[in-house]
């Protein structure tokens, strides 16, 4: 977690020049296992991107999204965190199970 915190602080400091940035504290992500790892997402974009894309992605869909962030956008997320983050997203912002 220390490594994560060190990584997040400069990244956030760099990109919150925009005036809306203070407001994004209003966005509260759901509590659940893996939330700490998922908070790496907010280094580059506000947390509202997660609920915005809910609830229609399953775990495979969320895994694809996280991998896109890493492989295309260069997010410094460790490969071993992908599963944890995708599980968190699928559980909290995923497609509801079929009835």
């Amino acid at each position: 977690m220390r490594r994560l915190a060190l990584l997040l602080v400069p990244a956030i400091g760099l990109c919150v020049a925009g005036a809306a940035a203070g407001q994004e504290n209003k966005v509260v992500l759901k509590d659940g296992p893996g939330k700490d790892k998922a908070m790496q997402c907010v280094a580059c974009h506000s947390g509202d991107y997660l609920p915005m894309n809910s609830r229609f992605l399953d775990k495979a869909g969320w895994t694809a999204s996280v991998n896109k962030m890493i492989n295309v956008f260069g997010a410094p997320i460790a490969k071993e965190d992908v599963e944890t983050i995708a599980n968190y997203l699928a559980a909290n912002y995923g497609k509801p199970p079929a009835k």
Binding site: L14, G18, P51, R55, F56, F73
Partner: protein
């Protein structure tokens, strides 16, 4: 009932209405029908994802009126429907769309535009004063619409910014013609594309910078501007101050904000935003082809499809018996011009032509209005269908595509006459 559960039940009602097509599907509706902010179900369209609907609300960025907040960082804000009741969208209400969160405050005095590239002659960077003074100024009234406007209405949903209907606006853009600037630099005969970069950047150096290109013939067309004014005022910061590209007819992705670099190139631009993003399965839409970008099974999105928006009615609205239904809105396309807008109040069985408003130019919103007498009472399904001068018309059924572009499905607004 808590605020949130009230909210949820309304949302269910709205989504129940939006999918159904027949009058028989509707039961009694609450008298005061208040949909949540930015509900597309309230406009007789499929509903945006429930997570989005719960997350969005009105919020005013500095210099803007309250807009529908989709995301804070990067900022993505949608124009509420009431601002489409006039053909020109006010600057303060114009939608905001960014891909990358690093958005500098550019001072007019510091701004310079570099014009270069392997298929261009040499030219010194232009200051804003030089741009305004050394080239003939031109104006165009044109719709700027995000490629993914109405993405949130896709069924099944696709990931991305879950826009409702307001990722668009119509403005009078004033600037200089890109072709005049390029002529000054000199365009070599081997030129294939013109590549544009703005001052925005990503928080991380590894993220691909937002860079877009146009076919050289489009870049050299009469209508493409480097604009520094919008509706008679300097561009708002959030819409590209001090200068942006204006590509009438083409989707917003090409309208680079805070334009800083123009390069004339002899080969296609293949960064992520051209080669992977903003693409459609090849041949799915009858839009212009970007021929230098056809090196994979898909093709770049180019110009807009014909579309319309009814602004005078809401799904579930009660209308007084004995009064005509007032159906009003705006229609637009890629610049062929709007030939007609037809209106139906019986779920598409019969259509009548609406009266078109003043022609503000072929790239502009065109207002339409029709006062339709209603006989009897009960439910009515109101629709509007725009057709362009090239015969293109709005679709009954969504043409689904993976990135959620070109949604121009006809609205079906249910009103209750009583």
């Amino acid at each position: 009932m808590s605020a949130s559960s009230r909210f949820r039940s309304r949302r269910r009602l709205v989504s129940a209405l939006s999918g159904a097509g027949t009058l028989a599907a509707f039961g009694a509706l609450p008298r005061a029908f208040a949909a949540p902010v930015g509900s597309s179900g309230a406009l007789g369209l499929a509903e945006i994802p429930d997570g989005m609907l719960a997350e969005q609300y009105l919020y005013a960025l500095p210099g803007k009126v309250p807009l529908i907040k989709k995301t804070y960082r990067p900022p993505n804000f949608e124009t509420p429907i009431e601002y489409f009741r006039t053909p020109i969208t006010p600057n303060k209400a114009f939608f905001v769309r960014y891909h990358l969160a690093g958005i500098p405050q550019v001072k007019a005095a510091d701004w310079a535009l570099s014009v270069a590239g392997d298929a261009a002659g040499n030219m010194a960077p232009l200051t804003l004063a030089e741009l305004k003074k050394n080239f003939k100024q031109a104006e165009v009234t044109a719709v700027c619409q995000c490629s993914g406007n109405r993405r949130g209405l896709f069924e099944p949903h696709v990931p991305g910014v879950e826009w409702g209907v307001g990722a668009m606006g119509n403005a009078v853009w004033r600037g200089v013609r890109l072709k005049d600037v390029l002529a000054k630099a000199g365009v070599k005969k081997e030129a294939v594309e013109v590549v544009f970069d703005g001052a925005d950047h990503a928080p991380l150096p590894k993220t691909p910078d937002f860079v877009k290109s146009l076919p050289v013939d489009v870049a050299l067309s009469e209508d493409v501007l480097i604009a520094f004014e919008m509706n008679g005022e300097p561009l708002p910061h959030w819409n590209g101050f001090p200068a942006r590209l204006v590509v009438p007819g083409w989707t917003g992705t090409y309208w680079i904000k805070q334009l800083s670099s123009v390069k004339v190139m002899a080969s296609p631009e293949k960064n992520f935003w051209m080669s992977t993003a903003y693409r459609l399965p090849r041949g799915l839409f009858k839009t212009p082809t970007f021929s230098s970008q056809l090196y994979s099974p898909n093709e770049p999105i180019t110009a807009m499809v014909v579309n319309s928006l009814i602004t005078s009615l809401r799904n579930g609205q009660r209308v007084d018996r004995g009064k005509p239904l007032e159906v009003r809105g705006v229609a637009w396309d890629r610049g062929e011009g709007i030939a007609k807008v037809e209106v139906s109040i019986d779920a598409g069985a019969q259509w009548a032509e609406a009266k078109l408003g003043k022609d503000l130019g072929r790239y502009s919103f065109r207002e339409f209005a029709l006062s339709v007498p209603v006989h009897g009472d009960g439910g009515r399904v109101v629709m509007a269908r725009a057709t362009s001068k090239s015969g293109e018309t709005q679709v009954e059924k969504l043409i689904h595509n993976p990135a959620g572009y070109h949604h121009n499905v006809i609205q079906r607004i249910y009103v209750e006459v009583a």
